[in-house]
């Protein structure tokens, strides 16, 4: 589970090292994932490994029936995305609805935003793999999407007063039988449905994770509530399939991508005449020195 391999990326290595530092034992000692000082207790399910999103896995009813009342089910996990004006049953407060009406999708396409990670509310259901590292006091989820790293504390700690908001927030988890329950706060405002609806910094997220019967599926519900913008709550069902031997890749987002939208795509190709050559020379000379 915490075995550090030579092929792991530096980020993953640092995560594994952090786990050792926090738990005070070697990675091999953590492999049993068993609560310390309680040898009789059954070990918790081991969620560790590389998991790739699989939207064909049916909803897990044992998780769905634990979803709180007044919660809309958002059926947009994986490939699906709601078009503008559709929010999967979420009931938007008037100000939030008005914001979605004036939302300009091209506002997303700036160098300032092209590489800004969404929060876990949108990121967890995206079509990217995750990798889980687990100990008895801390679970780390490395998302490939935007290189996001989630720290889920199992030691009962609370976020200190000055804990900053971020795309991953502050997550506290505990086990309820075979289910990992995670509550997350301190999230920065970010999109919920990628079509103009953003949650505020006061959003609260509740996730339940459990293994499928064969241990090859990771099943989760992600509920969220944000009374500042919503009159009801939302939930997504998210499922991943285990793919042993793989690791998440670095994302290393390039904000230069946003420039594609400002270059103009329908202009004729420049002819190879002298004037064009002069312009190209001028353009080259304007490049910064490497």
């Amino acid at each position: 589970m915490c075995r550090v391999e030579r092929t792991l990326l530096p980020t993953i290595i640092s995560i594994a090292v952090s786990l050792v530092g926090i738990t005070g034992c070697t990675p091999r000692q953590q492999a049993a994932v068993q609560p310390p000082g309680n040898a009789a207790a059954a070990p918790h399910p081991d969620l560790s490994g590389f998991w790739n999103l699989d939207s064909k896995i049916p909803r897990e009813e044992s998780l769905m029936k634990r979803v709180a009342p007044n919660t809309a089910f958002l059926d947009d996990t994986g490939a699906k995305e709601f078009p503008k004006g559709e929010f999967g049953g979420l009931k938007l407060k008037p100000a939030a609805l008005e914001a979605t009406r004036t939302w300009n999708p091209h506002d997303q396409l700036t160098p300032e935003k092209a590489c800004k990670a969404p929060s876990i509310v949108y990121a967890m259901q995206g079509p990217f793999p995750i990798e889980v590292f687990q100990s008895d006091r801390l679970i780390v989820i490395k998302l490939e999407y935007y290189d996001m790293v989630r720290m889920i504390f199992l030691d009962g700690r609370k976020a200190e007063e000055s804990y900053p908001d971020s795309p991953t927030g502050f997550s506290a988890g505990h086990w309820e039988g075979d289910t990992l329950v995670v509550e997350t706060t301190h999230l920065e405002p970010a999109t919920i449905t990628n079509n103009g609806l953003d949650h505020t910094g006061h959003v609260r997220v509740l996730e339940r994770f459990k293994l499928g019967d064969d241990g090859k599926e990771l099943l989760a519900t992600q509920e969220f509530e944000d009374p500042e913008i919503l009159d009801n709550r939302g939930v997504r069902f998210i499922a991943w399939r285990k793919q042993p031997g793989q690791h998440v890749f670095p994302y290393e987002c390039d904000p230069g991508f946003a420039g594609n939208y400002s270059q103009g795509s329908d202009s004729p190709v420049e002819s190879p005449g002298p004037a064009a050559a002069a312009r190209r020379k001028t353009a080259r000379s304007a490049q910064p020195r490497q």
Partner: protein, 134 residues
């Protein structure tokens, strides 16, 4: 796409200058690309191939009528493409390729790539599953 950005340029500058909060979002596939209409195929010579997240971009010189025009095709995340046989060396400048994809809703010469083939018909990479095409 060009006309889009001319229109949104002043808005973007206004937002930046006024310090409006930068809501975090990956640009929307559903909003930008028309998945209801038929897939479009474009054949051209590669002028540039960018293989970086959040999306790669293939820039093609395409002959339309009696003139050459630029088409751009945005790819899925290179992180995902790598698991389907793609790499930065999959396409080189000067290669002739055909790209099939979803057209931009604004009618500009911009696609979201679904598949790509070489001039000899050889597919580049392996097909995506539906879940990976977001």
């Amino acid at each position: 796409m060009f006309s889009y950005c001319k229109r949104c340029g002043s808005l973007m500058m206004a937002l930046i200058l006024t310090g409006a909060p930068l809501a975090r979002a990956h640009h929307s596939f559903a909003v930008f690309f028309d998945t209801d209409s038929q897939l479009r195929k474009v054949t051209g010579v590669v002028k540039e191939f960018r293989f970086t997240n959040p999306h790669g971009v293939v820039t093609l010189v395409v002959v339309e009528g009696n003139r050459e025009v630029i088409w751009r095709a945005e790819t899925n995340s290179p992180s995902i493409l790598r698991r389907h046989g793609w790499s930065p060396d999959s396409i080189h400048v000067g290669d002739k390729v055909t790209i099939e994809g979803w057209p931009a809703r604004d009618g500009s010469k911009y696609l979201r790539m679904r598949s790509a083939t070489r001039a000899n018909g050889e597919p580049i990479g392996t097909p995506m599953t539906a879940v990976q095409e977001k």
